[in-house]
Point group: C2
Amino acid sequence: MRKTPRQARSRAMVDRIVASGRAVLVEHGYDAFSTNRVAHHAGISPGSLYQYFPDKEAVLDVVVDRYWDEIADRIAAALSDRVGGQPGPSMIRDTMDALLQALEYDRVLLQVVAEELPVGHSRERRTTLERRVRDLTTLFLATVPGTAGGVSPARTAWMLTVVAESVALRWVLDQPAGIEREQVIEEMVTLVGAYLLAPR
Amino acid sequence: MRKTPRQARSRAMVDRIVASGRAVLVEHGYDAFSTNRVAHHAGISPGSLYQYFPDKEAVLDVVVDRYWDEIADRIAAALSDRVGGQPGPSMIRDTMDALLQALEYDRVLLQVVAEELPVGHSRERRTTLERRVRDLTTLFLATVPGTAGGVSPARTAWMLTVVAESVALRWVLDQPAGIEREQVIEEMVTLVGAYLLAPR
DNA sequence: TGGTGACGCGAGTCATCGCTCGCATTCAAC
DNA sequence: GTTGAATGCGAGCGATGACTCGCGTCACCA
């Protein structure tokens, strides 16, 4: 950020810029994401935008970062009271449900972020988030007895996170015909449950 | 294509253009993929490029299409003698190995295609390919007795293809530390094997 | 209330890039 | 050989869009 806004007026403007960036992304896609357009949508001049953002990408980064934060918050909130609980079908079910819910909340933006944006830009943020989830899963698998994942928790955690994320993402984005929401969840319960109990 | 090349000279040029498009993508990424640059790399003039390609995207499409075709060919070739075989661990192992091999063959281009390109452009081709694989899997699951996938082959096939593709893709692209090639394959054998044998 | 810096404006600059067009060159058929 | 079509050239047009700059306006402090 090029300059920190001091007065309330300018702080509000920065928020409007970010909100407009998101709106433009949702309403017109990444191709239309020009600084002029974002500024115009925010009801300000392009010059004003550059008072607080060094360049176009900085605006995009903030928009995307906020979106990932929201996703993370939603998952964390849904799962907060499950921490330290017993593993089993109901935990898998709840986790998958929370994941789906978080991704469903703004499908259009998800589509733009996941399929139109050059992923390289937001790569770092995303991998950081993923790594944290994976580390938590690893710890969980290593601590809780009775799960077969104990043989190599890191590998198992990597598999679980990749599978959960991609199944949820593909389902939300593609809305495959003939597969209802409840059914993906059940399939995941079967898949993950069987995987964790499988002999090594 | 705007015009079909008749003489050998011009046919060679079209090939050089496509090859250069691929090279530019690999060496400099999608941002550098300008028609002028591709033409220059091919040792021709931008005007000549437009003799045979209606626009920039047409060049990109051919490059990407050829890449997907190569991937499909590699998988098909590796699996051709397995058709109609018995399901089981060794089949899962072979399939996963073929998938990994196909994706590993040009990792840099894979990275560009999967993470830099606006996916919308090649979306149609990719979903067509995926659908064909899924349909084959569905058929296989429905025909072969003894697999639990028989309850709802379409759903099971969707899960299997999504999981296999994303695990392979993530592993090849991210090269996660501490997970060797053999180990992903073994994890997939465990995961898929357990899933297919799970009671419903 | 006057002044000073923060704020905001928007026409304009500059570079990029997709694409064209008029002309030169080469090839193949007779 | 001659001729006409096919091929190839590359300067340059036109549009787009990121970003700037000089000037007005507004808010806070003495």
